[in-house]
């Protein structure tokens, strides 16, 4: 197959919000995602970074079908995943799966691990009991658990083990795209490393494509091939991980990177770069530098993503 595995075009998500205060101004539309477009290639890890409220989670939920987009298309292998021609929930389950942030809320406390993993297989037409238990066993081994743990219930496992089970559940239907929603942020530091290593191993083993949502830039740098930086519902910068971390162009990306406390450096040493990135078209500025929050109830000012170096795009004010 040529072309991208997953393709998102001009995605918009708006939520109705009822007006606050005594003189509530009726229903207003909150613009959560404003025209997000990107492609995900086979076997790549693409991360969306940004702070709370930037729309990264809403984008992810739209892709797994938990949020209906207001406008725009999501295509998987050139088949639409949303809109009138969208596949059924059952069909889309084989294409895209998700690993959730909170390992404590993401497993049904009343289902044994075996049931959690076997039920989706049965649902998708695997009827042979021996095939089901084989596949469950293989999957548990792949995520570093032992098959004899399958009879147990979630409360008998630690946070890290639960996250392994969550990963096993996401992979049991053999999807090609896995959305990772803050996969390690709820875990202890020493467990984080194990899960990150596991995710990278599994990606290679099953040639998975990851779409990772994260606010932790050090994890993003470690795992990603490409990075999207989102700010108030828009992509403000897009590029390979080296572009984003070594030559960030947008002031917001720079602020984000400078804000990370690093072991071994005091914050005084984190000088913020202000020099313009070489190659930016002259005479065009940034619409927002990310220092003051725009109004989320109106559509954003016109701007466009401009590719100024191969694969490296940044949001600039429109050309005159």
């Amino acid at each position: 197959m040529s072309g991208p595995l997953l393709r998102v075009d001009d995605l918009h998500v708006r939520f109705p919000v009822s007006g606050a205060g005594l003189l509530g101004s009726g229903r207003r539309m909150l613009h959560a995602v404003n025209g997000v477009s990107f492609e995900l290639a086979k076997g790549e890890c693409l991360s969306i970074v940004g702070e709370s409220g930037c729309g990264k989670s809403t984008t992810a939920l739209s892709i797994v079908g938990l949020q209906e987009p207001t406008k725009g298309t999501i295509r998987y292998r050139d088949q639409p995943l949303n809109g009138a021609d969208a596949p059924s929930r059952l069909q889309r389950a084989k294409a895209v799966q998700m690993v959730f942030q909170d390992p404590y809320a993401s497993l049904n406390p009343r289902q044994s691990i075996h049931t959690s993993l076997a039920a989706p297989l049965r649902l998708h037409g695997v009827t042979s009991a021996s095939e089901i238990s084989d596949r469950v066993e293989v999957m548990l081994n792949s995520v570093g658990l032992t098959p004899d743990q399958a009879k147990r219930y979630p409360h008998e496992f630690s946070g890290g083990q639960r996250q392994r089970i969550g990963i096993a559940r996401a992979l049991i239907l053999e999807p090609e795209v896995v959305v990772l929603d803050e996969p390690v942020s709820a875990l202890d530091v020493s467990i984080r490393a194990q899960i990150i290593n596991l995710l990278l191993d599994l990606q290679e083993k099953f040639s998975l494509s990851y779409l990772m949502i994260s606010h932790d830039l050090s994890v993003v740098e470690h795992m990603s091939d490409r990075v999207l930086v989102m700010y108030f519902g828009q992509i403000v910068e897009e590029g390979g991980w080296q572009d984003i971390f070594e030559a960030p162009a947008h002031p917001y990306t720079r602020r984000l990177i400078a804000a990370i406390p690093k072991p071994g450096f005091s914050s005084d040493e984190m000088a913020q770069k202000t020099d313009p990135t070489p190659g930016l078209p002259s005479g065009r500025g940034f619409v927002s530098d990310g220092s003051n929050a725009p109004d989320v109830f109106v559509a954003p000012a016109p701007s466009e993503l401009v590719e100024f170096a191969p694969g490296h795009r940044v949001r600039l004010s429109p050309a005159d």
Partner: protein, 303 residues
Amino acid sequence: MTEALLDVRDLRLGVVQKRATLHAILKGVSFQILPGEAYGLVGESGSGKSVTSLAIMGLLGKPLSVTGGALLFKGQNLLDLSKREMRRLRGNRIAMIFQEPMTALNPLATVGRQIAEMYMLHQGKGRQEAQELAIEALASVRVPNPDRRAKDYPHQMSGGLRQRVMIAMALACDPDLLIADEPTTALDVTVQAEVLRLIKDLCAERGTAVLFISHDLGVIASICQRVGVMYAGCLVEENETKALFQDPRHEYTRGLLGALPQLGSRSQNGRRRLVDIDSIIADRSKLTETSFIVPRRPQGGQA
């Protein structure tokens, strides 16, 4: 050598029922904080870092209770103080800020009033004067439009602003020691950076000592002069921040540092496999048998 402001000596605490210790949580923790020094306690969940701070504040709830050791604050053992004496000390000489300011603020009072109350309670100021001091305090934590913001209720503020209000309240009486328990964990990175900078600047300006508790080594590194690493109720390593990060001695500290993806390291050295702490540590239960406590430099404190 300077007299320590807070001297935690062999602190032990656990789950106590009917005078029997059912489960030890702190197994003899000792560290000292000098006046004006920022000291960090880092550890994973369950390491005992947060209960340490609660013990210092005298806020341990049942069934937890101190079973041994001493907590000397300016030479006085906090464990000997009556509840009333402890109350007078709390908020006044020792103040604390928490991870989620929303739970520590009263949702039914304006933030200005809540700060003003600190001045009225601990310094006997009149209502009018306390109000003015509260607005000054808000200005000092860099809240824009402090006189207008003082009339806001906590829910009208963002998480970052609420944490600033907490800091203003905590520093209202110029305490000698500020205990900060994961104060920036719930915040976005850019807001976190601002709040950390604020704590650092204000405490340096006023000579307030800080006990900073976090699971995030990077946060600790950006604010503390010395760090103690806790594991399973023991202080396994203590050193000056730079030295600790450059030359970790304890197995666990090394594992912890190796387990973190570090910004910039991929572009310098390529993608290395993160250290799986369980693969380098043969037996976690033996971790607390050794500890590396590097003595403070004789001239006292300035890193």
